[in-house]
Amino acid sequence: MNLKVDLAGVELNNPVMTASGTFGSGIEYSDYVDLNRLGAVVTKGVANVPWEGNATPRIAETYGGMLNAVGLQNPGIDVFVERDLPFLKKYDTKVIVNVCGRSTSDYVEVVERLADEAVDMLEINISCPNVKEGGIAFGQNPKSVEDITRAVKKVAKQPIIMKLSPNVTDITETAKAAEAGGADVLSLINTITGMKIDVNRRNFVLANKTGGLSGPAIKPIAIRMVYQVANAVNLPIIGMGGIMNVEDALEFIMAGASAVSVGTANFANPLATIEIVQGLEAYLKKNNIGDINSLIGCVK
């Protein structure tokens, strides 16, 4: 029984990864989850310098989901390389660093800095709805998606994953733009911009007013987008958005994802990732399927 999947030449032990920003750098969750069992750990977004992030409250629960406006608080690439990378390298799992920036040169700086580090892949976050500069504005415009992808690819030594925003009319346009720019892999979806109002205080719940919606509430949108993109480009896809259990993960894989990231579910159940890995094994066994790769995009 084979659970191994390939992402642009990087072989993952299984398709289950963590979604950036929900798992830190893995340190905290390693109390609950054996990181060796994960296909990859995707880190919280890292910038060239430390970012303070947004004011609190930064999160709000919503029906079947949550809003976050953390705003990419992070210690910057230097601390990350010194402290978090050595921790992650102790495990038999792939390390994917999520990169954020306020300008193309910010992204490029981080990617260059990581070129010779023991990092397996880089995920470029051009779709964060919670920062004023960079983030989503880049990700909504096919032209700038292509430009950033190209700029990053020029200096990258690892395969580049472009993380797409769902806050667009037609996600196949930005997907194709990333492909044109030379992306190796696409990941989708980032969060969907949302808002919550506290009707008793008559005010926004989040200090940032808007936040990114994640969790099972958005899964049908994410599945649709993965399906659309899988049928529009020739790149492997990392699917995410609301994966809570093995059925959800399989939905993404059957829609066309080669791997999946688990985000909000970690908050509801810190063991979610491991349970999904076990669930995939059980599904293959029960259905007599020898190789998980045969399920990728099997629903047409």
Binding site: E28, Y29, R58, Q73, F267, A268
Partner: protein, 255 residues
């Protein structure tokens, strides 16, 4: 491995203290054994529409029976759901989380405001020094009698219905309570007042803070508070309440 667990605990008692305040004992030996005053536990709702855990402070610990007490106010749907659980029901909890209070000093004031009062009870039990206990309420009091075995109890109510009329600082001034250490939990405006009072009088103060949480274990950076110094995790000025707190020395945090 950190000393915390995600377990299915069993409810051993549920009592309403007020219309909207419930006291609940849970049995979970691992978590009870590992817990100390000022730490909290994440409660996971059963209803699938509510994904995020509810952080609730540990109110009392019975190490010999392996049980923990929680006292919480019914605010929204989550706490209302938990309040419907009955003796014998299961509940998934994770904990103990956070740092808890550091037991120190010679003469302490324990200050609790509103639903910040419950976590002071286990502290009062374990803190083996001279103690004054100051409890602030809007109107109707609860749990105040439970503190009497552990020190002199002073009550302040906003409407003056019990104790002195005013807030906890008014009560401290009124009764000229002195101390070399303050421990406090309650609403932010109260903590802000206590911080000012403590600095003014040169008293050390440990404050227990609150913020909306997602992971509860330091991974998501939802629950930060502003710090005076650069924090050790992100190297900015935002530290994680769930992991590096909820208890901070007054001078460490900006309120």
């Amino acid at each position: 491995m950190a000393e915390n667990f995600r377990n299915t605990a069993v409810i051993t008692s549920v009592v309403k203290l007020q219309d909207d305040i419930v006291s609940m004992w849970l049995k979970d030996e691992e978590i009870a054994m590992a817990s100390k005053p000022g730490q909290f536990v994440s409660f996971y709702c059963k209803d699938g529409s509510r994904l995020l855990p509810r952080p609730i402070s540990i109110c009392e610990i019975n190490h010999s029976e392996g049980t923990l007490r929680f006292v919480f106010r019914l605010i929204g749907e989550g706490t209302k759901e938990i309040a419907t659980y009955k003796v014998g029901d299961d509940v998934v909890i994770m904990g103990p989380l956070g740092n808890g209070f550091t037991l120190e000093g010679k003469k302490a004031i324990l200050i609790g405001g509103g639903i910040g009062i419950p976590p002071m009870l286990e502290l009062a039990k374990q803190l083996d020094i001279e103690k004054s206990i100051v409890l602030g309420y809007r109107d109707v009091t609860f749990m105040d009698k439970e503190f009497e075995p552990y020190g002199d109890v002073y009550v302040a109510t906003e409407d003056g219905s019990t104790g002195i009329k005013g807030n906890v600082i008014d009560a401290i001034r009124e009764h000229a309570i002195d101390a070399d250490i303050i421990f406090a939990c309650g609403p932010t405006p109260m903590l802000r007042g206590i911080k000012a009072y403590a600095l003014e009088h040169g008293i050390k103060a440990q404050l227990s803070l609150e913020e909306r949480m997602a992971c509860g274990i330091g991974a998501c950076l939802a629950c930060v508070c502003k710090t005076k110094e650069v924090d050790h995790h992100t190297h900015v000025h935002n530290t994680r309440i769930c992991k590096d707190g909820p208890v901070f020395y007054a001078q460490e945090v900006e309120l």
